[in-house]
């Protein structure tokens, strides 16, 4: 479902954030990427839909080449990759429903959407996705009037509105308190249970082990561990988080 080969991201002048990652994720997996801050997790996820341009390597998602794709091909590839961010990244002044509707932008005709027109079918999909995260009653509220946990659920609904094959989540709970962490991770797990492939970065080990079907440990831009949660021993945790090495 996600195929990554030899992925490198170097920021000018010479900061290597991702240093040669090979990874194949099968359909339906719930992959949690573990690592300290600065280990390259965020850059890796952002390179998968080319919000960050890879320096070298290949990425394919759901059978479509992401790397090397030109304008409309890239957009078609991005459309099937939902993305959830640490800071939610909602458009604050827009309504909750309009934020979810933005998930349909890759499907609707460009010019009508620029003047605010969306086909009725796309509006129905957006409402349905908002209902799925339990926030249908807040559709008309301004996004920035919602709590942090609610905003992140709106962001999840926006990703679902893309009808994605894969959802990437970059530290989706780092801005939330522990109770909301369980709430958001539970919502992601529910999405995964319906067959979507998930790749979520986390810096909290316990949270990762509780939800993942597979753990990938990042250290200095490389994969330091790859295996099931049960295989994460103290020695493995040390290899990912430890000061040594």
């Amino acid at each position: 479902m996600i195929e990554v080969a030899g992925l490198r991201v170097v920021f000018p002048p010479a900061v290597t954030a991702v240093d040669g990652v090979d990874l194949v994720v099968r359909s339906g997996e719930f992959v949690v990427i573990l690592g300290r801050s600065g280990s390259g997790k965020t850059t890796f996820l952002r390179a998968l839909n080319r919000l960050v341009e890879p320096t070298a390597g290949r990425v394919r998602v759901a059978g479509r080449a992401v790397t090397g794709a030109g304008g409309s091909e890239l957009r078609a590839a991005r459309r099937q990759i939902g993305m959830i961010f640490q800071q939610f990244n909602l458009v604050r002044r827009a309504s909750v429903l309009d934020n979810v509707l933005a998930g349909r932008l890759g499907y609707v005709p460009s010019w009508p959407s620029v003047v605010g027109r969306f086909p009725e079918n796309d509006r129905a999909i957006a409402r349905e996705c908002l209902d799925r995260v339990g926030l249908g009653h807040l559709a008309d509220r301004r996004a920035d009037t919602l709590s942090g946990g609610e905003q992140q659920r709106v962001a999840i609904a926006r990703a679902l509105a893309q009808a994605p094959a894969v959802v990437l989540a970059d530290e989706p709970t780092a801005s939330l308190d522990p109770a909301l962490t369980a709430d958001i991770m539970g919502a992601l797990k529910a999405i995964n249970a319906r067959g979507l492939t998930l790749m979520v970065s986390q810096h909290q080990l316990e949270t990762a082990l509780a939800y993942a079907t597979r753990i990938v440990g990042f250290r200095r831009g490389r994969v330091a561990f790859d295996g099931p949660p049960a295989a994460v021993t103290p020695a493995v945790a040390d290899a990912i988080y430890g000061e040594r090495g």
Partner: protein, 253 residues
């Protein structure tokens, strides 16, 4: 304690004082001359009173025309400045567009509305229309500059999020950028409207219509009482527009 930079700083202050002293000498700035002129100013003010209310209807017509010039000019400029603002913003425009656009803005902005009025009066003749054109010429570029700065100050997060949905560049501008900057844009337009009302009061001096035409005519005819009426009407007009506009602006942000 002596700061290491204190010697260059003293030198800079000394040079600045030297430059100011020279400008005072070169412009013939002379307090004694000003003091000798005070009685003349007093005489001038005395001859302005009482205001000649017979010209009140005419000056109000002029003031309304001034407001019209500023309103129409600002509205047209607010729209024309939109594409120019986007291509002048470093974070959304391609570098190939950004640099020429910035240069155009800086060149056109360095010329004042009144100078544009002189040019447009020569081009299309006397009246309010060249005034409108002058306001458009100056305001378009000055608003574009303000727009572009607002665009450069947006949060990148929502833009990333919209880009990640597979949206086109145009859709990203519409849904990721525009909602963040629109309230700022409106507030800049109102602010420009306020300054344009003031700028438009003197456009009549060069034949570009409005209250300035009346003011200048009365001064030329040495009819100071009529001129004072025109001045009073100007003050009331500016205060009215400022009051309304700043009240609307306060509700925007």
């Amino acid at each position: 304690m002596r700061h290491p930079a204190s010697i260059p700083r003293r030198a800079a202050v000394f040079v600045a004082l030297l430059v100011l002293a020279w400008t005072a000498w070169d412009t013939g700035a002379d307090p004694v001359r000003l003091a000798r002129g005070v009685p003349w100013i007093a005489d001038f003010l005395r001859r302005m009173l009482p205001p000649d209310l017979e010209v009140l209807p005419a000056t109000i017509v002029g003031a309304v025309k001034t407001v019209e010039i500023a309103l129409l000019g600002t509205a047209v400029a607010a729209v024309l400045a939109l594409p120019l603002g986007f291509v002048s913003a470093r974070n959304v425009a391609p570098a190939a567009l950004y640099h020429p656009a910035r240069t155009v803005l800086n060149v056109f902005r360095s010329v004042d509305t009144l100078v544009y009025a002189l040019i447009f009066v020569a081009a299309v003749g006397l009246g309010a229309f060249p005034g409108v054109l002058a306001v458009v010429a100056y305001t378009t570029t000055s608003l574009a500059k303000l727009y572009s700065e607002a665009i450069e100050g947006i949060e990148p997060g929502p833009v990333d999020a919209i880009t990640a949905t597979g949206a086109t560049r145009l859709q990203v501008l519409r849904y990721g950028v525009l909602p963040q900057v629109l309230p700022l844009f409106l507030s800049y337009v109102l602010y420009r409207l306020e300054t344009n009302i003031r700028a438009a009061t003197v456009l009549g001096f060069v034949g570009a219509g409005g209250i300035g035409f009346y003011l200048q005519t009365y001064l030329r005819m040495i009819d100071y009482r009529a001129a004072s009426t025109a001045l009073l009407v100007t003050v009331v007009m500016v205060m009215l527009v400022d009051g309304i506009s700043s009240r609307v602006r306060a509700r925007l942000v």
